[in-house]
Point group: D2
Chain length 333, copies 4
C-alpha cells in the first residue's frame, strides 16, 4: 500500500475549515503521511517566548490540508483511520495565554479581573524513554510523563457556506481536543461539501481531559492515516471507533449541551448497531457509558461519550470498516 | 476491629442533609456496616411499577444516618473509607421518570414538550457471576453487565443552617453520583457543623458516567466503612483518594462550573501535595488529568477531576491516612 | 384597616427560608409594617468599611419574619401586596465583595485569578429630592440617582423539609433581586408548609437589572404590605402582578434555564387567564413579552418575563385580587 | 441628501456574513433605502404553510448586502443609523419550527422527546391602525398588537477569514434579534475586513424580548439608514445609541456569558464616556442598567445592557455622531 507524503510549507497552512482551496485531491482508500506544525506555528521554543509576544493569534492551529476526497458528497460519511501519530520534533510547548483557558476569565467568560501571568513551559522529548518532561517554573519539580500523541483538530468543511476558524469544534469535527483522537482510532464525519475538504492539525504529545489551561503539550506531528468514504451514511455528529469503544463527540456551550449532543448521538448509533428502541438505548447507555470531558477552553466545549465494546454483544458499524482499516493499517507500520 | 451494624427502619430514613437528629453517635476510628435502601425506597419491583404511580417524590434517596462523629467541628475534615459496598438485594431497578433525566426537558430545562414515556427496567442480579442483566423492553436484547457497586450519595450537613434534599450534590458532598465512590475509596469532606452528621445512601449496582437517564441500577446496599477525623484540614470541596488516583468533585450548574470547581480544588490540593505554585499545578494538571462527568441530571451537575498517582512522584495526603485505612480495612474483609 | 408593626431585634433576624420558628402568627387579610435591616446588617457605614473585614458572611440578608399565615397549607397561594417600600435610613451601601458578583470569578465560576479590589460605596439619601448619590472613588464624578425602593428578598419556606439561605432565589421566591418587587406589586407564591412562613428583607434603594456587582444600594427599609391567601391555587413559580404587567420569575443556572422557567410559567398563566392553548400562548408571548434579567450574581440566577396588560384584553387572576388589594392599600397610605 | 435604493433579487440574497462579494460599494455618509425579505424568504403565507414543508433551511434570514464601505479598515467603527424601518408587506408570519426555539429541545439542547407541533401563524397588518393581529389557532382569541418594526440581523464580515450563517449573532453583530435595533438607533460595529461588508435583514414587525418561539412577526421591510465610518474606534462588541440610552449587546452561550460580555463592554464604554475607573463604572452601572434579554433561540444567545441617558451627566460618544445623524436623518423623513 502506497503512502502519499505531504509536508506543507508555511504558506500552505490552512487556518480555517472551509474557505480554502484543496491542497491535494485524493481517492478514497488513499493512505497519507502528513506533517503538521504545532498550534503556535513553532513560535514558542523557550520559556522566555511568551504567547502574548510571539504568537500571532491570526495564525494558530495551522491545518495540514484540506484534502479533496474524490466522490465525497453531502450526506456521505468520511472515515479517517489514524495509523500512527508520531512526534516530529524533540520538544513540545505549552502556555497559559492571557485570558485564554479554563481557569481564567476569557473574552466570553468576561470579568474585570487581571489576567493570569503569561507563562510558557517547554517539554523536552526523550525518544528512547518515550517521555516528555514537565519542569515547574516556580520550584524544582520535574516529572517525566509518557508521550501519548493525539490530534487536537480533525475536521471537514462546514455546511451552509460557513468558514470556521481551526480553533472551533463543531458538528463538522474541528478542534475537539480529545485524547481519543489517536493512533488506532477511526473518526467518522458527515460530509457537507463536495470533496469533504478535511484537514488535520494541532498535534499534542499529551493532553489531560478538559485541556484545562487551554493548551496541551503542543508539538509538530507526523500522522499516518487512511481515508475512506461511506456513501449516504453521514452521522449527525462525529463518531469515533477504536478496538475497544464506540464513541461520539458533542461540542457546544454550556458543557451539558455538548454532553447531551454526544449522548443523543450514541443513542442513535446504538439504534443502528443493535436495533434498540431509543428508550432502551437511553437506559442501556445510562448504565455503561464513560463520559470524559474533552475541552472546556475552545470556542465550543467538547464532551466524549463512549461505550466499551467488551460489555456488549458484537456489532459492526459501516460494514465493519474499522476492523478492515486496522488490517490495512498493519501493512503500513 | 469491631464493626457497628446499622439497619434503619423506614421511619429512621433521612431525606435531607442537615435538619435530622443523629441516628447514632460514633467515635473517630469506628467501622460501620450500613444497610441502605434503594433510591425508590424499594417501590419499583417490576417493569409494571411506574415511577409516576409508585414513587413518592417526597421520599426518594433515603439516607442511612446521620451519624454524629464525636469531636468533629467546623473546619475539620471527615474521612470516610469505603471498605466494601455490596448489593443487599437480588435485583436493581432503573427508571425513566417523566421530566427527570439528562435527555429530557425537566422542571429546570423547561420546555413545552410531552415527557418521555414513564418506563421501568428491572435488573436481575446473578451473584455467582456478579452480573446484572439489562433486558430491553422494546426488543429481545438482554445483556449481562458486571456489578460495579457504588454509592450515589455521601455527604455531611451543610453550613449556615441549611438543610438540603438528599437529591442535591454540593460542597458538602451529597448526591454526586460518581462511580468513583466505591470500595477502596477514601472520601474527604469538610465538616460544617458539630458532629459532621454524615449519611450515605443511593446505592447503585452499576452506573455509567453522567447517569444519563437520571437513575442508575438502583439497589439496596450493605456498605462497610471506616470513619476518621482530621482536625482543621477541611477541603473546600469533596476530595477522593484511592490507590491509583487523586480526585476532586465539583457540583454546580452549568456543567463547566462543576468542572472548574473540581479543577481548581485539585490545583489547590497539588499545591499541598507537591508544594507547587498554582500556575505550575495548573499546567501539570492540564496535561495529566482525567475528567469524567459524574451526573448531568441532579439538582447540581457533578464533574470529577482525577490525576493518576503512577504518573507522579510519591506524595501523601492527610498524613498518609488513605494507606493506613486500607490496612485497617484489610482486617474487616 | 389596622396595621401590625414589626421591628425585629438583631437576635430575631432570620437568615434562612425554613428552619426558623415564626416571629408572629397572622390571619389572612392582615396589613403589616415591617422594618428590615440592610443585607450587611448595617455593617458598612463608610467607604473605609470593607466587606472582607466588616461583614460576617454567616449573617447577611437578614429576614424580617417568618410569619405564620393562619390556614395556609401546601398547595395554596400566598399573596403579598406591597403597599409601600420606604427607606428607613439616610444612606445606603454597596460593595464589590471579593469573589462575589457578576464580573468576577466566584466560588462557582472558579478561576485562579486574583479578586477585584474590595471596595465600598456609600450612597447618601436626599429625602427632599428623593435621590441617592453615587460618588466615584477614583475620580470626582458624583451622580444623583432617583430612589426606586424594592425588596431583593421575598419568600416562603421551601418544600421537602429543606432550609435555604436567604441568599438563594428559587421556586419558593427568596433572593430574586428583581426591581419589580416594589410598592404596587402583588407577589403570588406557592405555599409549601403549613403557615407558609414568609419573610422579607434585603431592601434596595435602587438596583440595576442584573445586579452586576452583586450588591444594590443596600438599605434598611420600612415595608407596608397586605397578606392574603388563595386556597388551592399555588403557582409553580413566583408570579407578580401590578397595574401594568403580568410577570413571572424563574431562578436557576445557567441563566437561560431561569428564563425558560419564567417563560413556561407565563405560558401556563396565560392558559388560565385567556383559555389559550399552550402553543398559542407560546406564540403570543413570543411577540409581546419583556424579559429583564433580575440577577446574575446569586446562588441561582433570576430572570423576569412580563407581559403588558395594555396590549391584551382585560383579564383577572385569582378573582381580581390584585385590584382589590390596590383598593385596600389606598386606605393605608 | 440623496438616498440609494436597493431591492435585491432572490439571486442576490446573501445568507452569510463574509464570503460574499459586495452587492454595492458606497462612500461613508451615504444614505440607503434597502428592501429586505422576511426570514422565510416569503415562504410562509398562510397558516397551512408549515415550516417543515415550505422553508428551505439553507435559505433563511436572507441578507440585503453586503455593502463595501470605502475606506473602512480593520480597527475602524462602522456606524449605521436607522432612519426608518417600515413594513414592506401587508402581513407577517411566525412559526414554531420543529426543534427550533426557546421552549423546545433543539439540536443543541438535545433530548429524545418529540417536537412541538409545526405551526404557522399569519399576522395581518392594518396600516391605518398600525397593528398586526394575533389570531389563536386553537381558540377564537384575536388581539391587535402595535407594529414596532425592528431588524433582527445587522452585521459585518467576521475576522480571521470566517464566514458565518446569517442565523448567528456574534462579536460582528449578526442575528442579535433585539427590539432595540429600530428607527432612531445608531449601531456601532467593529470593522474586521476592508470595506466592512455589512448587510441587514430579518425584519420583524414586532418581537418580544427573548424571541421565545424562535421567530418574531417576520416580515419584508424597507429600511432607510445612513452609513458612517469612525477611523480607529472599533468597539469590541456591538454598541447601540439612541436618544435615550447607551447600549451594548453580547452574544454567546450560556446566556450569562452573553450578559457578562455586554456588561463589561458597557463598563469599557463608560470609561471612555465619563473617564470612570473600571471599578466605579462597574458600581455605577450595577445600580442603573436595564438588561433586557434579546434572544434565547439563536446559534448564540444575546443580551442587551443599557443605561438611561437621563440618569447621567451629558456625554457624547464618537464625537457626537449619533446626534448629528439624527439631524441628517430628519431631512430624509
Amino acid at each position: 500500500m502506497d503512502v502519499v507524503e505531504v509536508v506543507p510549507t508555511f504558506e500552505q497552512y490552512a487556518f480555517t475549515f472551509g474557505g480554502v482551496a484543496p491542497l491535494r485531491r485524493i481517492a478514497p482508500g488513499t493512505a497519507l503521511r502528513l506533517w503538521s506544525d504545532d498550534a503556535f506555528c513553532g513560535a514558542l521554543r523557550s520559556t522566555k517566548d511568551l504567547a502574548s509576544e510571539k504568537v500571532d493569534l491570526r495564525f494558530v492551529n495551522p491545518q495540514t490540508g484540506p484534502f479533496y476526497v474524490e466522490g465525497a458528497e453531502p450526506g456521505d460519511a468520511l472515515a479517517l483511520h489514524f495509523v500512527a501519530v508520531e512526534p516530529a520534533r524533540d520538544w513540545g510547548a505549552s502556555a497559559a495565554i492571557p485570558f485564554f483557558g479554563g481557569l481564567t476569565s476569557t473574552d466570553r467568560v468576561a470579568t474585570l479581573q487581571d489576567p493570569l501571568p503569561d507563562t510558557t513551559w517547554i517539554y523536552e522529548l526523550d525518544r528512547a524513554r518515550n517521555t516528555v518532561t514537565f519542569a515547574a517554573q516556580h520550584s524544582d519539580l520535574r516529572i517525566d510523563l509518557p508521550v501519548e500523541p493525539m490530534l487536537g483538530t480533525v475536521g471537514v468543511a462546514p455546511p451552509g457556506g460557513e468558514v470556521r476558524s481551526s480553533l472551533v469544534p463543531e458538528r463538522f469535527g474541528g478542534n475537539m481536543d480529545t485524547p481519543q483522537m489517536r493512533a488506532g482510532t477511526t473518526c467518522f464525519l458527515g460530509v457537507n461539501v463536495e470533496g469533504a475538504l478535511f484537514s488535520i492539525g494541532d498535534g499534542h504529545y499529551r493532553q489531560g481531559e478538559g485541556e484545562a489551561c487551554g493548551t496541551a503539550v503542543e508539538g509538530a506531528m507526523t500522522t499516518t492515516l487512511i481515508v475512506e468514504l461511506i456513501k449516504g451514511a453521514a452521522p449527525a455528529w462525529p463518531r469515533l471507533e477504536d478496538d475497544t469503544h464506540w464513541m461520539t463527540v458533542g461540542s457546544s456551550r454550556p458543557l451539558e449541551d455538548a454532553w447531551r449532543i454526544a449522548q443523543v448521538e450514541l443513542v442513535r448509533w446504538f439504534g443502528q448497531l443493535y436495533g434498540l428502541h431509543a428508550m432502551d438505548a437511553y437506559q442501556l447507555l445510562s448504565q455503561i457509558t464513560q463520559a470524559p470531558i474533552a475541552n472546556v477552553v475552545d470556542a465550543n466545549y467538547s464532551a466524549v461519550v463512549k461505550a466499551r465494546k467488551s460489555l456488549l454483544p458484537r456489532a459492526t458499524a459501516y460494514g465493519g470498516l474499522h476492523d478492515e482499516l486496522r488490517s490495512r493499517a498493519a501493512s503500513l507500520l
